[in-house]
Symmetry: C2
Subunit: 271 residues, 2 copies
């Protein structure tokens, strides 16, 4: 390949970094790829870093030393967060979402890539300093959101199952009461999925009573794993006392009034 | 904001496009964001387009006219596909993955963001001309892969459930025999999730007998929806006759020999 121009390298490095959030690339990766000297690439990186800061596109982190390199850290500014959360709150507040029994239909929101990506970036912002070894959720509605968070950390997702399957191998199973329905539920986790001593970040789409999230915490205890954080997209206002403490949420679902055909939701974004 | 330099704009446009695959951005989006004339931005786009082609980072598609704009189309070259599929085949072939009954543990692969992203890009490559309105899968193991494909199309994912829930609203339910175990299974799809006349792309992690995929096809028929394609990550070699035709797969699982503790898998990547 002919020598690349600086402009071509800038496009190339930017594309690779943004397509692979949190992945550390040593400069040698780009010098092999582009046939450019490391000093030249250092200058390229400085330009990209400044452009990202100026345009509030996230952060380019530069780590020095032998095991150093550069990585892309997505970061949303307050205005972008407010815009996307405002849009989701408005969608959620549509009374046609009310289901019999006072439930709310949210499946479409948690399956729309743009919403999921942005909610994941907000959750990532809460927990990016917690250094988890994996993200954990319970099947099934929270999987896309939790996977998007895992992607931003460049770490694997672990999924606890409600029904244990042959393809999970040997599992640890735990019975629990779901917070809202007080129904006996079962949660299983494959023994192959995690290792003792790891750090887990718990992510789910929704918290009402908190029974399911509590069960994940207990499951982690069974495996001697530290929970470093717990984040959900939507938290109901009631009950105000959940069965887990110290969770963070993006949106509060304040009221679902089936009789009056009325839903009220609000943003929890402060900064 | 002071006027941006071309280099800063190149980084900015590249980052926004690669972070939002298949999303069409009119040039006016960037002229508002960067305070630059459209003619200037056209030159920027030409540079980015050429850089992406030269570095095989995918394609920048330029659509002319009033409703025109630019979008990023990810595309992997043969060598990148071979590398990642080779890596997955090697991982899969590890005999410690064999589970009692001749099953194979694959959960970790389908929950590792890098593998999922790359497999999604390969599946996307099979189907990018099919113009689906949504991607559909059945819970739970295929969800991250199907969501990653949906993200590349910038279209929603739809998930058929094995167990119907209150939060799905009214559903259509279908009974079917799973291809391998011949066990009676149930699949439900929320009536809110899809509309008559839409186009569906079916994605799943695994096909053995094909009973589950066949059930998705039948479900789509119930809703008068056209299936425009069907892609899976892993297809077993046997039975060679599946209950669906015309599916595409990335990897063939040729043999799981529990007694000999031996797994053989191979890549289906031809171009």
């Amino acid at each position: 390949m002919d020598v690349l121009t600086r402009k071509e390298r800038l496009c190339g490095i930017t594309a690779i970094l943004t397509n692979n959030p949190s992945r550390l690339y040593p400069l040698s990766h780009f010098s092999e790829l582009f046939g450019a000297a490391k000093s030249t690439l250092s200058e390229d990186v400085a330009i990209i870093k400044e452009a990202f800061e100026r345009l509030q596109l996230g952060e380019i982190e530069v780590l020095m030393g032998a095991s150093g390199g550069i990585k892309y850290i997505p970061r949303m500014d307050k205005q972008s967060k407010d815009e996307i959360v405002g849009e989701i709150v408005e969608k959620l507040s549509n009374s046609s979402r009310i289901l019999p029994g006072g439930f709310i239909y949210t499946a479409d929101i948690f399956l729309t890539p743009r919403y999921v990506d942005k909610m994941a970036q907000i959750l990532w912002g809460f927990f990016y300093k917690t250094n988890p070894d994996f993200v954990i959720t319970v099947e099934a509605k929270g999987i896309p959101l939790a996977m998007a968070v895992a992607r931003l950390f460049d770490k694997p997702l672990v999924v606890a199952r409600k029904e244990s399957k042959m393809t999970e191998g040997s599992v640890v199973t735990l019975n629990y009461l779901s917070g809202s329905s007080k129904r006996l539920q079962t949660m299983s986790l494959s023994k192959r999925a995690v290792k003792e001593g790891q750090r887990a970040l718990v992510i789910d789409d929704f918290i009402a009573g908190g029974g399911t999230l509590r069960a994940i915490f207990e499951m982690m205890k069974e495996f001697s794993i530290t929970v470093v954080g717990c984040g959900v997209a939507i938290a109901t206002k009631n009950p105000s006392k959940k069965r887990v403490e110290n969770y963070k949420s993006i949106i509060t679902l304040e009221e679902i009034n089936e009789e009056m055909s009325f839903i009220k939701a609000s943003s929890n974004i402060l900064e």
